[in-house]
């Protein structure tokens, strides 16, 4: 997977944002959820996006994941610019090159765990790669739950099924928006451990939004967002460093609020 490495780039880019702007509302009530974000997300890297509530984390993710269209700027996934794609192509792109894990309600209630995992493939009419499927299932530790429906599984198990689903189609990039937001620390650790392994062992690219410094410490790189802009970045983070950055961000935000 090293065809045509870009000049000057050490690692390959999985997805990138170029001057991404997203506004909601008009006139007085206008909200700039993203205020010109430019960022490259590298292949084989586990990236976290952090920042205060309302800073635009989910919006950034949605724009990159072809779930939402930016007001201006460009979102590129796997070398494809999303701006010019029609709904049909966006659907195909989501199905084949992007994986998702949401905070909750990730699974179709009428389908078993196995069927949920295979959903993107069966929607595309593709045959699953059985070895890969087994590898993924074993790695999330759900072998004995495959026949169960979502209502018969715990929240943590459901999130792991969602992670398995996100990986099974071998997407270029997996987006996870607060995947552990509803989980206790043990279940969180299971899910995060799995995401980490998928990066380390399978070379997967994962981007995860989180508020939890513990979760963020599983990652290789943290992007800090405030008011729709990337304001800081941390590599190989440890918990203390994260906490420090976070509180700094919060101070700035508080100060700005007082000023404004």
């Amino acid at each position: 997977m090293t065809e045509q490495p870009r000049e000057g780039a050490v690692a390959e880019v999985a997805a990138s944002a170029r001057d991404l702007v997203k506004t909601y509302g008009k006139g007085e009530a206008e909200v700039r959820a993203l205020d010109g974000v430019s960022v490259d997300l590298m292949k084989g890297e586990f990236t976290a996006v952090m920042g205060p509530s309302g800073s635009g984390k989910s919006t950034l993710m949605h724009c990159l994941a072809a779930l939402d269209t930016p007001t201006s700027g460009e979102a590129i996934v796997d070398g494809t610019s999303l701006g010019r794609l029609k709904d049909k192509d966006l659907t195909t792109l989501r199905r084949e090159r992007v994986g998702f894990v949401f905070q909750s309600f990730n699974l179709v209630p009428t389908l078993s765990a196995e069927e949920n995992i295979l959903l993107p493939l069966s929607l595309a009419g593709r045959k699953p790669d059985r070895d890969w499927f087994d590898q993924v299932v074993d790695s999330v530790g759900l072998r004995d739950r495959l026949g169960h429906r979502p209502s018969e599984m715990s929240g943590g198990q459901q999130q792991r099924v969602a992670c398995a689903r996100a990986l099974v189609s071998k997407p270029s990039i997996v987006f996870a928006d607060e995947p552990t937001g509803n989980l206790d620390s043990t279940s969180s650790a299971e899910v995060l451990g799995f995401l980490r392994r998928s990066v380390d062992e399978f070379g997967q690219t994962v981007v995860m939004v989180t508020h939890d410094p513990v979760a963020a410490s599983y990652t290789d790189r943290i992007l800090f967002l405030a008011d729709g802009l990337i304001v800081d970045e941390l590599r190989e983070p440890d918990r203390d460093a994260i906490l420090e950055k976070m509180s700094k961000l919060q101070d700035v935000a508080a100060a700005r609020k007082q000023a404004g």
Binding site: D68, D87, K88, T91, F102, F105, L119, L123, A124
Partner: protein, 850 residues
């Protein structure tokens, strides 16, 4: 609490609108039918009252042949009229010439009025009706004043494409049959309209020439009472001077007779239509029940919150019921308005059958309004009651929980109760089949209703195989989208079952009727094959009498071997002390050469004052071979007839069959109502038919039919009725389809997040639409399959109970296949709106929905 209910209504406008639509249509149908029936009655009442004089001098006796198109030979002379006019009680006496057997042809040479209402031809003479107004009013032009002039009723003139001044073609019963007249004017009954009858008004001289062979005489006399004379006094006074064979009756008696006669026919129409309104309302009730069930289950969290905040169970129930009440109120109001429009539509439909109903009599009566509201409100409240109770059963703790479903009780109890009910239904049907006391059809009908209701209740269970099958079929053909659609149809069996049940009811009736109709056609085909042994039949489409000259000419046609002429007349026979109006068939000697009557006793050869009875008639009259029966003919003459033989029931002749000579003796004017013809051996049938047709070429409505054409005529009539029934059932089916739309819309709303998720992981818009469409098709097919299976069983059982009349059983297989296809199409159509709505959802917003 009330304010909350109100908010709920407003918040769920669209969903409620859809279920209100079920009420609107059901009540609309009911109100439409009621308004139409009332209007129909009013139309006839107005005409009857507006066209009847204070008193009438007419042929004596209980049988009024003129009503059945049979004339008598006794007449009133102008001298008799003068005598009546001279009575002090009489202000005016007007002689009438009522002609029978004439027909108006339109510009296109087709019979005006088709097969519906009769053609009434008579002389024009001014006379007053019971209210002292002129019987007839001019619309345009003038009255006929000399031979060659005619005035028609305005609507027939229009239907025939004639304007005043045009040349009009009439078929008349004597002399040159096809004659032309100048249209000098158009008129109508003072009571408004003609109810579809064609009025042909001629100059008196010409009427006498055509209908009375030129005799200066009249067939009846209309009397107007002098000032201060009551109608009874008038009739009594007239009775004293009427000629032999005539009597005088009050206008009130004439009105009552006609109303009784028409009333029966109108009652049949009204009951017939009301039946379908009831079916539509029952189907509507299912939809309402289902909608409320879904709404209640979607509102569990809200109900639980209310309970947690201290609302009592009763308050929760009441809030749902008030919602239902308001919905019923709105739905019934709209339904009544729709009904008014629908009644106009029905009137338009009947107009094409020749029954004219004036728009101004189609108004909502207080009774109709009250019935509409009461039915709408009661049905809605009853349908909403169970869901309302279920809402109240939500425990307060559910507000805190995430699994937001109303506890669905196990299916087991349903299954047990349903099975018991099914068995009870089987027992009732079996009782009907083995001839339990009372009418068999009532036993079977009761059993069938139980079956339908039980199937509706059991639909979630018994429908499962159908749904499982559709899941695997859909999955195989449409891949994951199909599989998901199958899953969705299966995930809430009650909802799917109840939605499908609405369609099931409609299709059960459709299929049962279909079985009966095709059995009827098959039976009639067989009867025609076995019993109608003549080569050709000559009849009018109305089966009325036609001039004898055609028969005379046909006897002369080369290659004709046998010609049998028959004339049906209304007669009166005493059955157990009361006069019973029935028909007698007058036949000639050739009749038994062409037709073979299977004799139970006696001989089939009759002459003189003799008669043949069918077994059924013989039982009614308690008379058999050798006995004498007293038969009163039109004109009042009673003739004792010796029963010469009793034959097995057959449709080739009436239960009472007499020699034509007896009709002559009774003074009935001869005409033919049917001619049967056998072709000589070796003659060219086609050529003979051509020659016979040449005989009637100036009377294009009189047709010469071979067996095949006769079969087609009969099955055409059966099919026409069948199509009317299907048309009326279509409304129930439309309501059922609305139910599918409603359920699907609600399900789509409920599954917003899930749809968002599916879209996010790569379900395309088109596949999403496919998914929803297939779910709809699954529901529709379920309803169709259950309904058709049940309808088949009910139809077969009903046929079995009617096997004396419906000797053949035929299953309308091709129609059933067509219904299934139609159900699939309806399923696809029902999904259009929900599918489009679902595919318009924004992926992100859908996912974010709570």
């Amino acid at each position: 609490m009330f304010r909350l209910t109100w908010r709920n209504l407003l918040a769920r406008k669209v969903r409620l609108l859809m279920s209100t639509l079920a009420i609107v249509l059901g009540i609309g149908f009911l109100a439409g039918v009621m308004t139409f029936s009332t209007g129909l009655n009013a139309t006839f009442d107005n005409i009857v009252e507006g066209s009847t004089p204070d008193a009438q001098v007419r042929p004596a006796g209980d049988v009024q042949g003129a009503n059945a198109g049979v004339g008598t030979t006794s007449l009133v002379t102008p001298a008799d009229v003068d005598k009546l006019a001279a009575l002090p009680e009489v202000a005016q006496a007007t002689g009438s010439v009522d002609g029978l057997g004439s027909f108006l042809l339109g510009k296109d040479d087709k019979l005006v009025g088709g097969q519906g209402a009769p053609t009434l031809a008579f002389n024009y003479a001014p006379s007053e009706n019971i209210q002292g107004e002129q019987v007839l009013e001019l619309v345009e032009g003038g009255w006929p004043e000399k031979p060659g002039e005619v005035t028609l009723d305005a609507s027939s003139a229009e239907r025939g494409g004639y304007a005043v001044g045009d040349t009009v073609t009439l078929i008349v019963p004597s002399g040159q049959p096809r004659r032309t007249f100048t249209l000098v004017g158009t008129a109508e009954f003072n009571g408004g309209g003609t109810a579809g009858a064609t009025l042909v008004l001629l100059d008196t001289k010409e009427a006498q020439e055509i209908f009375l062979d030129g005799a200066d005489a009249f067939t009846s006399v209309s009397l107007t009472a002098a000032d201060g004379v009551s109608r009874t006094e008038l009739a009594d006074a007239a009775k004293a001077v009427v000629p032999e064979g005539f009597t005088a009756v009050t206008g009130d008696k004439v009105i009552k007779e006609q109303q009784d006669q028409i009333g029966q026919f109108l009652d049949v129409i009204s009951i017939f239509l009301t039946t379908f309104a009831v079916i539509a309302i029952v189907v509507g009730a299912f939809i309402i029940f289902n909608t409320f069930s879904i709404l209640v289950s979607q509102r569990v969290r809200e109900s639980a919150l209310l309970r947690a905040l201290g609302a009592s169970k009763r308050q929760v129930t009441r809030s749902v019921l008030i919602e239902a009440f308001l919905m019923a109120l709105v739905g019934s109001t709209l339904g009544l308005l729709l009904g008014l429009g629908l009644s106009r539509g029905l009137a338009g439909l009947f107009r094409t059958f020749g029954l004219d109903i004036a728009g101004e009599v189609l108004t909502l009566t207080p009774f109709t309004i009250a019935s509409g509201y009461v039915t709408g409100i009661v049905v809605t409240m009853v349908a909403a009651f169970v869901p309302a109770r279920r809402a109240a059963k939500v425990p307060p703790v559910a507000a805190m929980r995430d699994d937001l479903t109303v506890q669905e009780k196990g299916m087991r109890r349903r299954l047990v109760l349903g099975t018991i009910a099914m068995v009870v239904g089987v027992a009732l049907v079996a009782a009907g089949l083995v001839g339990a006391p009372g009418t068999d059809a009532i036993w079977i009908g009761a059993g069938a209703v139980i079956w339908v209701v039980t199937t509706a209740v059991l639909a979630p269970v018994v429908g499962r195989p159908v749904l499982l099958l559709s899941r695997s079929v859909f999955g195989r053909i449409f891949g994951t989208a199909g599989r998901l659609a199958g899953e969705n149809a299966l995930r809430s069996p009650r909802r799917t079952g109840a939605t499908a049940s609405a369609l099931m009811i409609g299709l059960a009736v459709v299929s049962a009727v279909g079985v009966l109709a095709s059995s009827l056609s098959a039976t009639q085909d067989k009867i025609v094959d076995d019993q109608f042994t003549s080569d050709f039949l000559v009849q009018l489409p109305t089966f009325q009498g036609f001039p004898t000259q055609y028969g005379d000419q046909m006897e002369e046609v080369d290659g004709v071997d046998l010609v049998s002429r028959q004339q049906g007349v209304p007669v009166s026979i005493e059955v157990a002390g009361t006069p019973d109006q029935t028909f007698a068939n007058g036949v000639d000697a050739a009749f038994t050469e062409i037709y073979t009557l299977k004799m139970v006793s006696g001989t089939d050869q009759i002459s003189g004052d003799q008669a043949l009875l069918s077994e059924g008639r013989s039982d009614d009259l308690k008379a058999t071979t050798g006995d004498t029966i007293e038969v009163q003919f039109p004109g009042g003459k009673t003739i004792p007839l010796e029963v010469a033989g009793v034959f097995e029931d057959t449709p080739v002749t009436s239960g009472l069959t007499v020699p034509l000579a007896v009709l002559d003796e009774a003074g009935v004017k001869r005409s033919d109502s049917s001619i049967s013809i056998n072709v000589a051996d070796g003659a060219d049938r086609g050529a003979v038919k051509q020659d016979l047709e040449d005989v009637v070429k100036d009377l294009p409505i009189l047709s010469v039919q071979d067996k095949q054409e006769f079969k087609e005529l009969i099955s055409g009539q059966v099919n026409q009725l069948l199509y009317v029934i299907y048309g009326l059932l279509a409304l129930a089916v439309v309501i059922a389809v609305i139910g599918i739309v409603n359920t699907l819309s609600l399900s789509v709303l409920e599954r917003t997040r899930e749809i968002g998720l599916l879209r996010a992981v790569g379900l395309s818009r088109r596949k999403l639409r496919t998914m929803i469409t297939l779910e709809s098709v699954a529901i529709a097919v379920l309803g169709a399959v259950l309904g058709m299976a049940l309808g088949l069983v009910i139809g077969v059982v009903l046929r079995q109970s009617l096997k004396d009349d419906l000797t053949e059983l035929a299953l309308p297989i091709s129609s059933l296949a067509l219904f299934l296809v139609v159900a699939v199409i309806f399923g696809v159509l029902a999904a259009v709106i929900p599918a489009v709505r679902a595919s318009r959802m924004k992926v992100l917003q859908a996912i974010a929905t709570e």
